[in-house]
């Protein structure tokens, strides 16, 4: 690891000021960033810790849904969202291992946008709204591909609001080594339709499976997608699965998520 400066602001304006500095890098859990720095693959000059800001912490019910502070650790979401949004809480409780869940945060995960991370599936699958220090971004406009988001320089997530669905479930098929999603599907049924978000499968990161959404909006049952198949085009190919295998998982897991949704 190279040397760096460290600041831990206690409010959003101070954090915004710190983030404006040259070479500043937000730190919110550091589950990807710190290993990268230890391997000397990243060398930010200033780390701005976002975990000391009270308004970026915790889970509460807001007018437009469940609001989760961006610096809330996964284990806290698993606990505090359990009654408000059980599928979201279950997702948070299944990320990584206890050490990861007690450090990693919602905002950290979303800002990094790993193509195999869990949280992007919940955010996109819920049609959530990403709140930053500058603006609100709809989930559909937030994810821009592999490790790429709508966040601009100096911008950081402060909270995310999740509209609460009638039914929802997240089914993850573990990548056996990392326990990230080899492929995972978040299905959420709202009054105005069903959303299906897939993570771990596409080279472009999290995406919505439009055909399944249409079929499930008409008939919310696993049988409704029996005749669909996800395309393997653009799916990830690695040691753990071929594109065809991932495409198969998209369908299998979507069916299982529908069956599990409550």
């Amino acid at each position: 690891m190279y040397n760096f400066d460290f600041v831990k602001p206690s409010n959003i304006p101070d954090a915004a000021k710190a983030m404006a500095a040259d070479g500043a890098q937000a730190l919110s859990g550091g589950q990807t960033l710190l290993p990268t720095m230890k391997q000397r693959l990243a060398s930010p000059s200033v780390l701005v810790s976002l975990t000391g800001i009270p308004e970026m912490q915790g889970v509460c019910m807001a007018d437009d849904g469940v609001s989760v502070g961006a610096a809330t650790i996964h284990s806290k979401v698993a606990q505090e969202a359990a009654k408000l949004y059980p599928a979201l809480a279950a997702l948070a409780g299944g990320i990584g291992d206890p050490a990861v869940r007690n450090r990693g945060t919602l905002g950290g995960s979303l800002a990094n946008n790993d193509p195999s991370a869990c949280y992007p599936a919940a955010v996109l699958g819920s049609g959530a709204t990403v709140h930053t220090n500058k603006r609100k971004i709809a989930a559909d406009a937030y994810f821009k591909g592999l490790f790429s988001t709508a966040l601009e320089d100096g911008e950081f997530i402060t909270s995310v609001t999740f509209p609460v669905p009638q039914k929802a479930a997240y089914v993850k098929f573990d990548q056996p080594a990392s326990r990230f999603a080899l492929t995972a599907v978040f299905v959420a049924k709202y009054a105005n339709g069903v959303r299906v978000a897939v993570t771990g499968a596409s080279e472009n990161g999290v995406f919505r499976w439009a055909e399944a959404e249409a079929a499930l909006s008409a008939n919310f049952s696993a049988a409704a997608i029996a005749n669909l198949s996800a395309s393997s085009k653009g799916m990830i190919s690695d040691l753990h699965g071929t594109p065809a295998y991932r495409a198969n998982l998209v369908k299998v897991l979507t069916g299982r998520a529908v069956s599990a949704a409550q």
């Binding site: 098929f173 690695d238 040691l239 753990h240 071929t242 998982l249």
Partner: protein, 789 residues
């Protein structure tokens, strides 16, 4: 009633107290006055010429003490191969020099070409980045078949076809084997890959070199499974240090699985660096370095053929294997795919004709060497897979086929067609035990239950044998070993009657400190708590050959047993003197020396005290002191054997395999500590399941390690594994060592992979899928792809 101490008791592992409470003392824990730090510059390329290395900027950095490159070691020796293998044509194998630091060329990603010594690790690493090196990249040689065919690209410029040797075992049998195949009613063929594995000891390698300018003595703290061999290699072969001026200490070592048997260049580097700068030099590998540079395991590509009649009687077996040795020959790299593999190709069967051909191939990958089981898992996997395939082809019961081909009880000692002599065994007994405790009778009911849950259940079998207790020196010497493989122990009885035993075996997790003390306790009738086992320090222990090949108890334990016999014999002499009786009338039992037929006796403690306070000894005939050493060279290998069964459930939608149960019936000979034996089997099976389902070390076509971290290399975790059913009650004691022990350390890793794979194939077959083979690891993607091919 289970025993509560001594031989046969499940004594709790005394070493675990310090391991589990953070009080172990590993190499990285050792902090020496004035200590400095080494960091290595490692090749980012699989294959490249080193055009130039400019060290000036690095040397000029504050805190940098020295920079070494390959040129600094050009004049000293290389790290030698431990065995010289003869090719079929009578030529001796190729042995390219393995230098301390790469010189002229780098040959695998991670190959160290320079090292920096600095005041801190961070400065050393920054200085490594400041080295200005120019590489001329060369095509990477990764695939073995391509390496053999390629006459222009060479890992070592002097070796034209990248082949180290082409070995036939037994070459004289080849014609008869080929003839048997020509006339056989049935031939089953299978091409399979024994997947490359990364050892992943919990503790990464680490070394500290210390040179004392006052005495000109060197000391090396290092993560070694055999400190005396390391001393011999560093002193006599690489550095030219007089052996008596080098003390090697392997303190607590956190696992090895083979990867820490060998001498590595980093050990020589820290010694050379300490000599140059006059201060201790420490290096601790990070996990990435472990992945890149620890000797990997397995990596065979094999075609195996089994000739049989239609009833499944084996007539002949023949194999052709390409075995990867990586870029350089690690110390045991040449014996692992040959005499630890080819000689096991008879398995527990009376196959009359066997021929094995192995070509070892240099590639631009990390060196490959012995890893838990070392050659024997490869042999067992090949045999047990082809036997299973034959059973399917001929529609025969895999249990009955194995039964009828077993070497029968009345055939021992049995000489195999691949030149081993199995002293004893009872393969029917372990198979019967397995069928019983594995509840084979209930399988159909369990299968039906799985089917109801939408899962495909399968049952896989493996009956295995290994040769361990390595090894008779005369035999291995005749086969090309450059070392003897005896072991040694010194039993030192202290004046107050407690005991220190200095052993040549090295414990890096096995539990020697507990088990060896149990044996001493039983033999001398004194409490285990009064016995300490000392290992790992060449200045304290007799010259031993360390731990690997399930040899510690069979070889070093036997040495200790012999030394204890000598202590008892000496004790009798002392007792005879003290009790004024004839030596022949003294008997030793229950910790007492007594005169037969009388109530005159002396306790062991009294004898011990007398030995060191010899106020009235007849010194012409009775020496003071009570300390004895024995060296033990085994007469034969030992042959543990067993039968394993695995039940799996396959998810037909995802291809995911879950181990539903795993059952082991082993014959390890006499068992000294059942709890530790069971733990060894659990760990071995975990590694076997890891190999079968999870672990795969892969390089891409450019020679980049694509499974270089725990993000991609899947280690087995608790939730990947079942609760095991383990039995070791079928016992045929080893006939040629005094304890009657055979060894249990590698068994689980040897017997389990084929049981797992056979179970998956069975599950698919029962579901109507015509899948005959899937290469390990059987990842969900691979299983699903095979089902949907």
């Amino acid at each position: 009633m289970p025993k509560d101490s001594g031989i046969g008791a499940s004594s709790k592992r005394r070493e675990d107290v310090r391991f589990l409470t953070g009080r172990g003392r590993y190499t990285a824990d050792i902090q020496l006055h004035g200590q400095t730090y080494a960091a290595f510059a490692r090749s980012p390329h699989a294959h490249a010429r080193i055009v130039s290395i400019d060290t000036k900027a690095a040397e000029a950095m504050d805190g940098v003490l020295a920079v070494f490159t390959g040129a600094d070691f050009a004049a000293v020796g290389g790290n030698p191969a431990g065995w010289l293998i003869q090719s079929r044509n009578g030529e001796t194998m190729k042995e390219p020099k393995r230098p301390v630091l790469a010189h002229g060329k780098v040959r695998h990603v991670g190959d160290a070409y320079a090292a920096v010594i600095a005041e801190t690790v961070e400065i050393a690493r920054s200085a490594v980045e400041a080295l200005d090196v120019v590489f001329e990249e060369l095509p990477a040689i990764v695939d073995m078949a391509a390496a053999v065919a390629d006459k222009t690209n060479r890992v070592h410029d002097e070796i034209a076809d990248n082949v180290c040797f082409d070995w036939g075992w037994i070459e004289d049998n080849r014609a008869a084997v080929d003839a048997a195949f020509k006339s056989a009613p049935h031939v089953t063929s299978l091409k399979l890959i024994n997947n490359r594995l990364v050892p992943n000891a919990m503790e990464p390698r680490a070394s500290i070199g210390v040179y004392d300018p006052g005495t000109e003595d060197y000391k090396l703290y290092t993560t070694s499974q055999n400190p005396h061999l390391t001393r011999l290699l560093v002193a006599a072969f690489v550095m030219g240090i007089p052996e008596h001026k080098l003390n090697v200490i392997a303190p607590d070592v956190g696992g090895g699985f083979g990867s820490k048997i060998y001498h590595y260049g980093e050990e020589a580097l820290v010694l050379a660096a300490s000599r140059r700068i006059g201060r201790p030099v420490k290096w601790v590998a990070d996990r990435s370095e472990s992945f890149l540079t620890d000797a990997h395991g397995r990596d065979h590509v094999t075609t195996i053929e089994l000739a049989s009649d239609k009833q499944g009687n084996f007539l002949a077996l023949r194999t052709e294997t390409l075995a990867n040795v990586g870029a350089y020959l690690s110390n045991f790299a040449t014996v692992t795919p040959t005499f630890l593999h080819g000689t096991l190709m008879a398995g527990p069967y009376k196959t009359p004709l066997v021929y094995v051909n192995v070509k070892t191939v240099f590639t631009n990958t990390a060196p490959v060497d012995a890893y838990r089981g070392a050659g024997r898992p490869e042999a067992t996997y090949s045999i047990e897979r082809v036997v299973d395939k034959m059973c399917r082809e001929l529609n025969l019961d895999p249990v009955e086929v194995r039964r009828k081909n077993f070497i029968q009880l009345d055939q021992f000692p049995y000489t195999t067609p691949v030149a081993l002599v199995y002293d004893t065994g009872n393969y029917q007994a372990t198979l019967d035990k397995l069928i019983d405790i594995g509840d084979f009778a209930g399988f159909e009911a369990r299968r039906a239950k799985s089917a109801k849950a939408g899962k495909l259940r399968g049952l896989g079998l493996s009956t295995w044998i290994e040769a361990c207790g390595i090894a008779p020196s005369a035999l291995v010497g005749a086969l090309g070993a450059r070392v003897g493989l005896y072991d040694a122990a010194t039993v030192r009885v202290n004046p107050t009657g407690n005991i220190s035993v200095m052993v040549g075996a090295h414990s890096h997790g096995q539990g020697h400190e507990t088990v060896f003390a149990q044996i001493v306790s039983s033999k001398l009738g004194i409490p285990e708590a009064n016995i300490d086992i000392v290992h790992g320090d060449t200045s304290k222990i007799p010259f031993g050959m360390g731990s690997y090949g399930s040899r510690s108890l069979a070889v070093c334990g036997s040495a200790m047993d012999r030394a204890l016999d000598k202590v008892i014999a000496k004790g009798k002499k002392i007792a005879a003197h003290m009790l004024e009786a004839a030596e022949g009338d003294i008997i030793f039992a229950d910790g007492k020396f007594s005169v037969t037929g009388t109530d005159k006796a002396k306790t062991f403690g009294e004898i011990a005290f007398s030995a060191y306070v010899p106020h009235n000894y007849p010194l012409e005939t009775l020496e003071p002191g009570l300390e004895e050493t024995a060296f033990y060279d085994p007469a034969n290998f030992t042959y543990p054997a067993g039968a394993y069964a695995c039940e799996v459930e396959v998810d037909p939608d995802t291809g995911r395999v879950e181990i539903a149960s795993f059952t082991c019936a082993d014959d390890f000979g006499n068992v000294m500590n059942p709890m530790i034996v069971e733990g060894q089997v659990h760990g071995g099976v975990a590694q076997g399941i890891g190999q079968a389902l999870l672990e795969g070390c892969t390089y891409d076509a450019n020679g980049q390690l694509t499974s270089g971290s725990y993000m991609d290399y899947t280690m087995p975790r608790a939730d990947d594994l079942p609760m095991y059913t383990v039995d070791h009650s079928c016992i045929t004691p080893c006939t040629h060592n005094p304890l009657g022990v055979k060894g249990c350390g590698e068994a689980g890793a040897i017997g389990s992979p084929p049981a797992v794979v056979n179970a998956v194939i069975d599950a698919l077959h029962r579901a109507g899928k015509n899948v005959t083979h899937i290469d390990m690891p059987l990842t969900p993607s691979r299983v699903w792809s095979a089902m949907n091919a």
